[in-house]
């Protein structure tokens, strides 16, 4: 009897604690939906495509920021993904070499590095010499933020492949390059893809690296990769600091859109992970 009571108390307390732990997440999802969804409904399709409203003058649209986010994610992927995948494979292939160990350490540091410093670094090397904020600078900052996620998950996916498949691939008379890039990488593709999607989801929501690099835009969709560009998180950050009520509403709507984009990338990852089997 006593034991049964103890077990019940234990079970209940674990359940309550777990609920407490995930409560903030639900609170975010809940409050963003409650405040953002009505804005999106009211603003309609124009909210997704239009340009920013004037202060106190309705909802307008966040199309510029949405386009900016997609351009930035695309450009940063273009810059970051190939380097990150190769770095991850290198770290997995040559774990004991000097470069391999250096790569690994570097990735660990990058993973923990304050993203605002990444923004400052890019400002120093690109924005200052060019004389203006640009999509390119923003994309580079995001690429730096994205790379360690992709590289580390690539490395882990490659390392998880049982040795026997490596042996099998070599036994077919393949060069090491072909073994790694044509056979084993295909085998690790789900892990690599997951890392890529997580990296993209991560940078789609980043603000800090863009503060001193992308510059922001709210009225012109795209001016070229050497010109300033907007992004949803950057827009939210700027709008909430304004004293206008309609800007706060737009910020909630933008937050809701950002959350949808984030979930649209994340839910497939969760579904994909389940079907991984070797």
């Amino acid at each position: 009897m006593n034991r049964l009571v103890k077990e019940k108390v234990f079970l209940i307390s674990i359940t309550v604690l777990s609920l407490l732990a995930i409560l903030p997440l639900f609170h975010i999802l809940f409050s963003v939906t409650v405040n953002g969804l009505p804005v999106l409904v009211k603003g309609g399709f124009g909210f997704l495509t239009g340009t920013l409203a004037s202060p106190g003058d309705g909802l307008g649209g966040i199309g510029v920021a949405i386009v900016g986010t997609f351009v930035l994610v695309f450009l940063s992927s273009l810059i970051g993904l190939p380097i990150a995948v190769v770095a991850g494979i290198y770290a997995a292939e040559y774990p004991n070499s000097a470069i391999g160990r250096l790569t690994k350490t570097l990735l660990q540091i990058m993973l923990e590095f304050p993203t605002i410093l990444v923004g400052l670094f890019v400002m120093q090397i690109i924005v200052v010499p060019m004389g203006n904020y640009s999509a390119l600078a923003g994309a580079l900052a995001l690429a730096i933020v994205m790379m360690p996620y992709v590289a580390v998950s690539t490395e882990e996916a490659m390392k998880e492949i049982p040795f026997t498949y490596r042996e099998a691939a070599f036994s077919l008379g393949l060069t090491r390059f072909k073994v790694v890039f044509r056979v084993l990488m295909g085998m690790a593709r789900k892990g690599v893809l997951t890392g890529i999607l997580i990296g993209m989801a991560k940078v789609a929501g980043e603000t800090a690296p863009l503060l001193f690099s992308a510059g922001g835009a709210s009225r012109v969709y795209f001016m070229g990769i050497d010109k300033p560009i907007g992004a949803i998180p950057l827009l939210i950050y700027n709008l909430v600091q304004q004293p206008y009520k309609n800007y706060h509403q737009i910020a909630w709507g933008a937050a809701f859109v950002l959350m949808l984009i984030f979930l649209a990338i994340f839910i497939p990852i969760r579904l994909k992970i389940k079907e991984v089997k070797i």
Binding site: E167, A168, F170, L172, G173, L174, V183
Partner: protein, 276 residues
Amino acid sequence: MRARKSKDRGAKKIETAIETAIETAIETAIETINLNVYYNSNHVIKSVSLQIPENVVFAIMGPSGCGKSTLLRAFNRLIELQENARVEGDIKLYGRSVFEMNPIEVRRQIGTVFQQVNPFPHLSIYENVAMGLKLNKLVKSKDELNRTVEWALKKAALWDEVKDRLNDFASNLSGGQQQRLCIARALALKPEVLLMDEPTANLDPIATEKIEDLIYELKKEYTIIIVTHSPSQAARVADFVAFLYLGKLIEVGPVEKIFENPAENLTEKYLTGRIG
């Protein structure tokens, strides 16, 4: 006088013809000369000198841990994937040292089937067999690729079971079918020698029998070197048997000789189940 000389010459001719016939009849596929393998300082293969004739099934038997897999992997230099392994001595493939060849070439000519059944799980049945051909650029057209894949699957006695599901994942096949797929994958490269490291260790008796029948078929065209820890399997499939114990080659010879009249005490002890 003249007649006598030409008669002599004729006899000589026949003699050399017989000699070459004997030589070619028992051509050596693989020969190891004073082979030693170490993992770091651990001496695992100890001065093994072996001759493996062509087109036979040659079994290497011995208790677990005696170095069978290591010896097998030395033949086609797969052992070099182990960073801590060091090989001394020589290995010859049809008289040519494998250490003077490109390891890639060696592995194409000496295929491998592993103990752990390991078709590539992310590839289809077809792609598993086609992979080596495509990446090595051994076929010139899609058509030739299709024909070679079919040929290899037939050789591995798997074609009839998979011809309607070539695009299925290899992981959907039964264990025995997967192992025959691995045999097809190796055969597709048209090797001369096939190494099999305990190919039936993870299979049920029926699947094992199928693989053993297949081995019997394949020896007409290939030299098969099979590692087994089961003397009864060696007796069933092999023409020649080598007994390896603690890294040393204890005895080697025709299967009847080894099983009926072993020269070494250790061999007899092993065969009667008193060691290993």
